[in-house]
């Protein structure tokens, strides 16, 4: 079984722990007086972050865990406050005064939260000997905005613009995961014309993310021509997205009142990227100095990827056939094939991104159909709903409990939540100057991770 997520919610008489595996959902009830939960981190290493978050959110003790450090509550957060409990409704807390950060101490070097490796704020703890990396760890939740708490009590329509802004780079995936829940709650099925249109923009977003990552990977190995090449394509992509949706990121592109996709602009973009990419691939095919810098950097084995339950292209880079799109009837109709590589290093992750861009372009070409008609969701039924979307970074899971047509509990697990935990394995033993490349080769979104 593969662990997808583990989180808690508060009920009147108890706490409920929901553990989502790929094959089933397990629910446990624990008392509120001395709340304690058995850790599953020995079997599933990535459960550690979920469990540390459960402790911070609800004050539930995790038994038999070897890592009980706070995760989202940083050192200045008052220890006796558990913000996800229903009894906590304050808009401010008295944060503790903390001495200024010491950048070098006995616990390794703290990098960040403003680092060249990542655009978003995030800290890393690095232990090294000379130029070799001994241990490396991500310290997340610098951008913690308490979005789970923010949307509680809102109607689904009120929360929609917030959910679409959780992660700018994956906004289409987040909007689609949310729509999937809205569809389940309103007991409706999306007309195929709309599904096709949404698929077009999900694949478009994937291409933009891959182009950005490929460009930055090139920059970290000082391949400036490659950086310029991908950034140029990315800019064209953002402008096309703007022309098609009125926004460079597509912040409200997933709607019900469909407008046809501009065929000419869509085709022009597809043809342009295809042509440019083919040229680039031909160019770098025999550029050995380029591949030399990627090969055997940040290797993750198939066993490690399975053990950590990694998702997205990180899993696919070690031949794990893990892609939510294969479960989708529409994708199957469009002969979708999962891109896979076997080595699990930065070069494999580079190649997978290139292949996935071609796959996405092929899908987009086939969905360019400007027929559309309006569709309405209607009212939402109370209940619990789960949705899964294959975002550019990997499998995105969203959970929503609706009570009296309002949000009772919102939980989202971005692929970064799992993949960031594997960074320590990826970089161990590598040289310090490859750190940027390895971090960039793994798709991470801290805005979505830190929520």
């Amino acid at each position: 079984m593969r662990l997808i997520a583990r989180f808690a919610k508060e009920q009147e008489a108890c706490f409920e722990i929901i553990t989502v595996y790929d094959t089933r959902v397990v629910k446990e009830r624990i008392n509120k007086v001395t709340p304690a939960l058995l850790s599953i981190a020995k079997e599933y290493p990535t459960a550690v972050w979920f469990e540390r978050k459960i402790t911070d959110d609800f004050g539930i003790e995790i038994l038999y865990s070897n890592d009980k450090r706070p995760l989202l509550k940083h050192e200045h957060f008052p220890k006796d406050i558990y913000p996800m409990r229903k009894s906590f409704s304050k808009l401010s807390v008295d944060y503790l005064e903390i001495e200024s950060d010491t950048s070098v101490d006995n616990h390794g070097v703290i990098l960040g939260p403003t680092v060249p490796y990542h655009l978003e704020s995030s800290q890393y703890q690095l232990f090294n000997r000379n130029s070799d990396i001994l241990h490396f760890e991500v310290i997340p939740f610098y951008k913690y905005r308490a979005i789970e708490k923010m949307v509680e009590g809102m109607t689904l329509d009120e929360a929609k613009p917030i959910v679409s802004r959780i992660s700018g780079a994956s906004t289409v995936a987040y909007q689609l995961a949310y729509l999937e829940i809205q569809l389940q709650a309103s007991k409706k099925t999306l007309p195929s014309t709309l599904k096709i249109k949404h698929m077009f923009f999900l694949e478009f977003e994937r291409i933009l993310n891959h182009l950005s990552d490929l460009g930055l990977m090139c920059q970290f190995i000082n391949f400036i021509e490659g950086f310029s090449f991908f950034m140029k394509l990315l800019e064209e992509g953002r402008e096309t997205m703007n022309e098609l949706t009125g926004h460079r990121f597509g912040f409200s592109v997933i709607d019900m009142e469909t407008t046809p996709i501009d065929l000419r602009k869509g085709y022009d973009f597809i043809r342009y990227v295809e042509k440019e990419l083919l040229w680039f691939e031909k160019w770098i095919k025999t550029k050995y100095s380029f591949w030399k810098k990627l090969i055997q950097q940040g290797v993750i084995s198939r066993e490690e990827a399975s053990e950590f339950g990694l998702v997205g292209l990180v899993a696919r880079s070690v031949n794990l056939d893990l892609d939510r799109r294969t479960d989708d009837k529409l994708y199957r109709e469009y002969s979708f094939v999962v891109a896979q590589e076997g080595i699990g290093d930065a070069s494999a992750r580079f190649k997978i991104r290139l292949t996935e861009i071609h796959t996405s372009l092929r899908m987009m070409r086939r969905v360019l159909d400007n027929r559309a008609y309006p569709f309405f969701l209607g009212s939402f039924k109370d209940g619990e709903y789960y949705s899964y979307i294959e975002s550019a970074g990997g499998e995105l899971m969203m959970y929503l409990e609706i009570k009296d047509e309002k949000i009772e509990r919102f939980f989202v697990r971005d692929p970064s939540f799992l993949n960031a935990q594997a960074l320590s394995r990826c970089v161990k033993g590598n040289e310090l100057d490859t750190l940027g490349l390895i971090i960039k080769s793994i798709p991470l979104s801290f805005s979505a991770n830190d929520l």
Binding site: V93, D101, T114, E120, S121, S167, M231, L234, F249, S447
Partner: protein, 169 residues
Amino acid sequence: MYELFQNKINQKKSMKKPQADGELLRLQRLLKEEIKGKFSSRLKLYIIDTGSCGACELELQALFNPLYDVNSLGIEVVYDVREADMLLLTGLLTENMYPICLDAYQYLKEPKHVITIGDCILFHAPFKDTFAIKGQANIHFLAETHIGGCPPDPKALLRGMLKHLEGLS
């Protein structure tokens, strides 16, 4: 040999700088003049993501692509605030990022140039206040210029930066 030659030609063709429109060319020219006159041709930016969705950062990153090419105007990003001429803040100001911003603000050399970017930082985006959010950044830091948008596109960023530089004596 022919293929190699053809490849070189294609490489040049594909690496061709994208065409900038009239407004962009004007912005680039004016910015370059301002940076040359007021910052000895090198304007060093220190960017802090105070809790954004990442879109503002991606638009700031786009400024360095071959179209906007702010490198050639003398703009660069530094990772030590003590070297920076200007502090850019993006996103909702979270409680966890506030002490880091405060430190950076203290270390920023005088005169302190601070620009806030995006709708979130002034609470114009659809987010609601929570215990994890410090509040509007302009209450805690003296920011002379704000560049609105969700996110502001690269041209809006250039316009905002130019407005700020033009306002300096």
